[in-house]
Symmetry: C2
Subunit: 203 residues, 2 copies
């Protein structure tokens, strides 16, 4: 059976849990508290030298890191992953957009504001720029979703899962989504998909 | 013919140029000076609402953004992209590692130190943390390359291209690679591949 090393509040982990749920794949969940440094222990670093969850452990012990790579692995050959070459690349485009232009701002602002007892002076100084770039990412999403119901090819897939994970909890980072009506409708559309599970759902 | 919108000093752009060279694909190069805001004009934003190079324009005008998604698109079916499902996911794992745990530190430090006339006080305050995380990424690479000649499956491929781009110019960001002998040998190995082109090479 697959083993998922994860932390329930992680949106990156949630991407994998959502993909597993949509694919109907059973798995064993092993939780690691990132706030207590449980992904930086020698035992964890032996599995992922980059010290991060989520981490998928295959039946033979092989470990795969990076949420989007894990989702890609799980979803290949399923309706979540497009068969068309261009649509596959567009899916990856949005997944890389999420990791580079969305997560470092929206997820990090959420982590700082929602999980840390107090920000450092440097975090306080960085926060306005992170909020600004987070809103810029939401603007790019809004513009795209004004013209189509899902991110790629008119159907629900991996790009939606990748972007849903932290967008649906952006409010915990202090982001107000009122100015992004198409993003809001899309969030509802993703949550209404058959097989959907919430971020706190344990298999 | 394919059109690549790019900025020659960009490592992200170089990934695409290197992939195009290894695939032997002809293309038209259109340069945009990011230092002069040429990727934030209305004309450019109509092509990529996220306002970034590299951007691949297909013959029918379809535009594909995000360097790693473009490389994936170009290399599918070539020896640069593994055929095996796990090796494909491992390739993506390293490409996402590069965009999340490497580029924001090594490429950004290079951009700040090598291209900006003067850092803002916030950039000065952020720099030590960025350097530390850049060295951490190099440490993860060193550990992996101590055991194998290339990042995935024992052969040169997309993961190597993605990580070579900014690692080979890390010195311009003030990174000293002396403590990473396996990274250095790997850099030489990548540069010795048939079909290799340098970052300043124009097709």
């Amino acid at each position: 059976m697959l083993t998922l090393h994860d932390y329930m509040d992680s949106g990156n982990g949630y991407k994998v849990r959502l993909t597993l749920a949509h694919c109907g794949l059973p798995y064993r969940l092993v939780e690691h508290d990132i706030l207590k440094g449980e992904t930086r222990t020698p035992a964890f670093l032996a599995r992922n030298p980059n010290g991060r969850i989520p981490l998928l452990e295959l039946e033979d012990g092989t470990c795969l890191a990076e949420s989007d790579a894990i989702c890609w692995y799980l979803a290949e050959g399923t309706p979540l992953a497009p068969a068309d070459r261009l649509a596959r690349a567009q899916t990856l485009q949005w997944m890389f957009f999420e990791q580079y232009s969305h997560e470092p701002y929206i997820a990090v602002a959420r982590f700082w504001k929602h999980y840390l007892p107090k920000l450092t002076p440097l975090q306080e100084a960085e926060l306005p720029g992170r909020m600004e770039k987070g809103y810029a990412a939401l603007g790019v999403m809004e513009q795209h979703l004004a013209r189509q119901p899902f991110f790629v090819g008119g159907r629900f897939g991996l790009a939606d899962i990748a972007l849903y994970a932290y967008t649906h909890v952006a409010g915990e980072g202090g982001f107000n989504l009122d100015a992004f009506p198409h993003v809001n409708v899309w969030l509802s559309r993703v949550a209404a998909q058959p097989g959907h599970v919430t971020i706190d759902h344990k298999n």
